[in-house]
Chain length 180, copies 2
């Protein structure tokens, strides 16, 4: 069975600072037609920064849901930027830390039903204070270090409500379990 | 330090079938102003359906990235619908299975930087063929059962590119490890 949908036409709805919105008319595998709403996003990287059996988390306000969330550091890919460079840049911008080692753990779409945003999750290690860092007074975040031994209870507490953060901390736990 | 951003004004950009798009003018904690693009989404449920040490996966085409993805079953919450009812309904619609037991595992935002979509992830057990099921010929998905013992190698293969699916399978693995 073919699963593919053919694009018949594309209507541009919005071309914003970060996202673009389109309405696509598509032909389903059975020949019928339907409409798909599609949000185009530049993509992002997320960072699992680990030092001495601790992992770096941030608290930040998210306007889309008017809530403060606990997350791992993350940021959008700039036009033409290689994702590993985004990772290094965002880590410095959000935390003041430079990573001696960046390892790709997973790449995933976060909301494939309507949006093409792809996140590349890197583990950042060999962390040192960056000489390039100057605190950006338009970034409002609070940093804290969580012991790896506390991850499991934090996951079970329901306090984590961000998909990439839950996914990243689970990956770390599974890797720790495997290396035991 | 306050992290909160105050809404100054909201411009409605698009009111679609599934999503709404807004441009919000906000005041940052330091008094400066900026613009936030916000996508409003009704939210969704996802299902980790488990039977005899196997987990149910689906392949489906996703128009936003023009790719076939491996995912767990999922679907949008309808207006006024309780999420546990969405879970039961979507499981029947996508797989023909009825769950005797549904357990909430996690609730998470998938893209909090610009979108309020919240996914509730349920584990579905005690699965039986539903008498209400009639195959919907506008749903183009392929189902398959994956042994729990194969999850780890599938996670490491890079073939899984959907956040909720990686998160759900890692939750299952961690729960299996804990019950050993």
């Amino acid at each position: 069975m073919s699963l593919i949908e053919k694009t018949l036409s594309v209507e541009k709805i919005y071309d914003g600072r970060i996202i673009k919105v389109e309405k696509q008319q598509v032909e389903l595998p059975n020949g019928r037609q339907t409409t798909r709403e599609v949000v185009k996003h530049p993509g992002a990287v997320a960072l699992l920064a680990v030092r001495e059996n601790q992992v770096l988390l941030i608290k930040q306000f998210r306007k889309a849901m008017d809530e403060v969330l606990i997350e791992i550091p993350a940021g959008k890919v700039e036009a033409g930027e290689e994702r590993i460079h985004t990772a290094a840049r965002e880590l410095i911008e959000e935390t003041g830390l430079e990573a001696g080692k960046l390892t790709l753990l997973h790449e995933f779409y976060v909301s494939p039903g309507f949006c093409d945003e792809l996140i590349s999750l890197y583990q950042a290690e060999e962390l040192t204070a960056s000489s390039e860092y100057t605190a950006d007074d338009d970034e409002f975040i609070e940093l804290f270090w969580l012991p790896v031994s506390d991850i499991e209870s934090l996951l079970q507490s329901g306090q984590l409500r961000d998909a990439k953060t839950i996914l990243a901390l689970q990956t770390l736990l599974l890797n720790y379990n495997n290396s035991k």
